[in-house]
């Protein structure tokens, strides 16, 4: 009964979505306010209806209603409650439903909080949101209905893939979708502005917070997925340049570019046409990501069973959305007039460089990801290739290096005309710091790859440049502490947020460079009592014991790590066997210290009393997660800035004198 309510709510939602995509558009075209006003209640009922459907599916999972096909195929009565709830989105049908729920939430949020938007722009944007919702609701109802019944119902379900029964992965999809789908708002605003034929500074101000929110969630989602791969797959790595990973990374790269170019639109009323294009492309890449993951056209280490017919439906949505919006762009973009003047060395110039490099980096990732498909199509299926990490390291990294170098200088640049002489004086400290870091790293770790110390120097350059720009703004150490504190209170939160996000990148560079160059790996067969040296530590396998978990049996090894004869840590790597799925998983044991992770995995017995074991010392890996956390914190801090809150009255100019040392005050 409950499942039928869900099904009915979904069908109603489709009708409402069609109304939302057509009526407000007609109203905006005719200037009919009554018709345009329909957008708001439509968006609100849409979110209500899909929420009812989602609740119905969750209910079916929680009470283990195995007469519902999705539940029978992906759940099991013995599964812990957390994974019954997260199991709702850990399968194809449910995850697409979550996709639409989040889309509807964003649509309703625009309807709710967009009170100071011009009515026509708002209703057109909501109509575009409605069109996306229509497409995906049709997709769910016609190809992936989560509420289908089976008769007779099985006695128990087939269980959730054990790899997904993990707290990290339970929350990974919702976060990632908040990011993916969040970019739909920027897309809808871009298409609405193209229909209107008008983009101004206010447009930039409206789009920025939505883009920032999506970016922040996507950053968190990607980091969470990477963290999961690190501890759950037991390979000691955290990023594999796999198609499914790239699928989420490409919208992030372009979304980052969009985040920055929207600033130029808001502050300087220029770069408008490019920003519109970026908004369209970013969401297109989100759709492409959904397609890659859902269709299985690319062989991925993260691949799950997939269904090509569903892929074709998403491909059709993709072609329609991308093709339609690009045609509209081609027709309308020439109307957009360029605004303010500026010299190449200026804040605008710096942000253009940022956009150029991020877009190029994204293009190389896109090419590497899709090349296997292209080649197979061109050679009629004879040549099958895969493009692995070496390609991405050889193309992506060289493009990012100048970006990171410029990133330290960018915030110092003034709008319109930057003063290089003044900036080079301010960057001296950072330069000294970078050189010192390079030298220190060479001295401490002389036998690693030559480029790594330079990467560390680059991180120091970025960190110091970013931090000193922030310190300059509040005159830290150059004015009395009270004066600095007053300036800090006057500093917009978005400025501090930007500083934090950039520092997060610096921290992450340290983690990425360190972990990929200085990792120590050791694979061997050990009998209980035997030990092996790994990077100055001694790993001893004490014993391996059997045990049971809620819905699995396990073998847990005790590994004692000692250094110079003193016990440093005890690690308990496990293999878990899930009888329902007939599948086992590896649980790596990780001991995190500020500068390195000690990482142990236990494999299979060799049949004569020994066990295959794999030990790693992964230097600086935790810094990757710290960096991501700092970036997310910067995003949220910036979001909390009242100037980002659409509808909030602009704050009165503070009585203090303008920050005179550099004219580029806010952002």
């Amino acid at each position: 009964m409950i499942a039928e309510i869900g099904q009915f709510a979904l069908a109603l939602a489709l009708v409402v979505a069609v109304v939302q995509s057509v009526i407000p558009l007609i109203g905006a075209q005719r200037g009919n306010a009554t018709l345009m006003m329909i957008a708001r209640p439509a968006a609100q009922s849409l979110v209500l209806l899909v929420a009812v459907a989602y609740a119905a599916l969750t209910y079916a999972f929680v009470v283990s209603d195995f007469s519902v096909t999705t539940v029978a195929g992906n759940s099991h009565s013995l599964k812990p409650m957390l994974y019954k709830v997260s199991g709702v989105w850990a399968n194809h049908e449910g995850s697409m439903l979550l996709w639409v729920v989040i889309l509807a939430v964003f649509g309703a949020a625009v309807a709710q909080f967009g009170n100071n938007l011009p009515l026509s722009l708002k209703s057109r944007a909501l109509a575009v949101q409605g069109m996306i919702a229509t497409a995906f609701l049709a997709f769910i109802l016609f190809t992936s209905n989560p509420f289908l019944r089976i008769d007779p119902a099985p006695l128990d379900g087939r269980g959730l893939n054990p790899l997904l029964q993990d707290p990290g992965l339970a929350f990974h999809p919702p976060l990632l979708y908040l990011g993916y789908v969040g970019f739909s708002v920027a897309f809808s605003f871009a298409v609405a502005a193209l229909i209107e034929g008008r983009v101004d500074a206010a447009w930039g101000r409206w789009v920025r917070p939505w883009t920032l929110a999506a970016w922040t969630f996507l950053t968190g989602g990607i980091a969470l997925g990477s963290w999961w791969a690190y501890y759950e797959l037991g390979w000691g790595g955290w990023w594999f340049w796999d198609p499914v990973e790239n699928a989420s990374f490409m919208p992030w790269l372009l979304g980052t570019a969009l985040l920055h170019s929207a600033i130029v639109v808001e502050k300087r009323d220029t770069l408008k046409s490019w920003t519109i294009l970026l908004a369209i492309l970013t969401f297109s890449l989100s759709l492409l990501g959904t397609f890659i993951v859902r269709s299985g056209v690319l062989t991925s280490v993260h691949a799950f069973a997939t269904d090509p017919t569903r892929g074709i439906f998403i491909l059709a949505i993709l072609v329609f959305a991308v093709g339609g919006s690009l045609v509209l762009y081609a027709l309308r973009a020439p109307i957009l007039k360029a605004g303010g003047l500026y010299t190449p060395v200026s804040r605008e110039g710096g942000l253009i460089l940022n956009n150029l490099l991020l877009a190029l980096a994204c293009a190389t990732v896109l090419l590497g990801t899709l090349y296997p498909l292209l080649l197979e199509a061109m050679t009629d299926g004879r040549d099958k290739v895969s493009v692995g990490p070496p390609y991405f390291n050889a193309t992506f990294v060289p493009i990012m290096v100048p970006l990171f170098l410029a990133m330290a200088i960018g915030p110092y640049l003034a709008w319109k005309r930057g003063n290089l002489k003044m900036i080079s004086r301010r960057m001296i400290v950072s330069l000294i710091g970078a050189v010192a870091t390079i030298a220190t790293t060479f001295l401490l770790i002389p036998d690693g790859p030559t480029l790594t110390p330079f990467a560390m120097g680059m991180a120091a350059w970025l960190f110091l440049g970013t931090a000193s720009e922030w310190a300059d703004r509040i005159k830290l150490f150059r004015a009395p502490p009270r004066e600095s504190l007053r300036r800090l209170q006057g500093l917009p939160r978005s400025a501090t947020g930007m500083t934090l996000a950039h520092i997060g990148v610096a921290v992450m560079i340290i983690g990425v460079a360190g972990s990929s160059s200085w990792q120590t790996e050791s694979i061997q067969v050990l009998r209980p009592g035997e030990s092996v040296p790994v990077a100055g530590y001694d790993f001893r396998l004490d014993d391996v014991r059997d045990g049971t978990g809620p819905n699995y049996t396990l073998q847990r090894a005790t590994v004692t790590v000692s250094r110079n004869g003193r016990v440093f840590a005890e690690l308990y790597p496990e293999t878990r066997f899930f009888p329902v799925a007939g599948q086992s998983t590896t649980e790596a044991a990780i001991r995190t210290t500020p500068f390195a992770d000690l990482y142990a995995v236990i494999g299979e017995p060799d049949g004569s009393g020994g066990w295959t074991t794999r030990f790693y010392r992964n230097p600086l890996v935790p810094w990757i997660w710290y960096g991501a956390l700092i970036m997310v914190a910067g995003g949220f801090l910036s979001l909390s800035d009242r100037r980002h809150r659409v509808g909030a009255p602009r704050r009165e100019k503070s009585p203090q004198p303008a920050i005179s040392s550099h004219p580029a005050a806010a952002e």
Partner: protein, 157 residues
């Protein structure tokens, strides 16, 4: 600076950057494309030892032998077979009779030294290349297709 000239500079700079990126991509492609071979492909085409490639097929039943931390097994497309050796911990879903994709190099004796055995997240998932290789060798069964397409699904992203 006049807007026209400014635009010219930006375009020139953009083109230059694009050129550098294109050069990077081309040279990276030249060195880093990894071609996929089925056991039949390996038997037909000459592959120079040491070139990195992917080999995919089914793990032949009863072929898995352990020698310390090194594992030997046979990959088959049911027409041809290749001996594979791999040192390390196999993915959780490595099973006899199941599809597998390995990456590594062909040795002088014709055997295959794998440096990676690709993990899959799902026991019913059959890599597309493996399915195609089985089709090409005429050994495709409906059962295998069902096995590849049905089954529990999960969100990998």
């Amino acid at each position: 600076m006049k807007p026209k000239r400014r635009r010219l500079y930006f375009v020139l700079f953009g083109m230059a950057t694009l050129g550098v990126a294109a050069a990077l991509v081309l040279s990276a492609f030249q060195d880093n494309l990894v071609f996929f071979y089925s056991p039949s492909d390996l038997a037909e085409r000459q592959v120079e030892p040491g070139r990195r490639l992917r080999l995919g097929g089914l793990v032949e039943a009863g072929s898995v032998q352990r020698d310390g931390s090194t594992v030997h097994f046979t990959v088959t497309d049911l027409a041809q077979t290749v001996q594979v050796s791999f040192t390390g911990i196999l993915p959780d879903l490595f099973r006899e009779g199941q599809g597998v994709v390995t990456e590594g190099t062909v040795q002088r004796d014709g055997s295959f030294l794998a440096s990676d055995v690709l993990a899959k997240h799902d026991e019913t998932y059959l890599p597309k290349e493996v399915a195609d290789a089985l089709k090409a060798s005429g050994q495709w069964r409906d059962g295998a297709e069902n096995q590849a397409l049905e089954g529990s699904e999960g969100t990998a992203q």
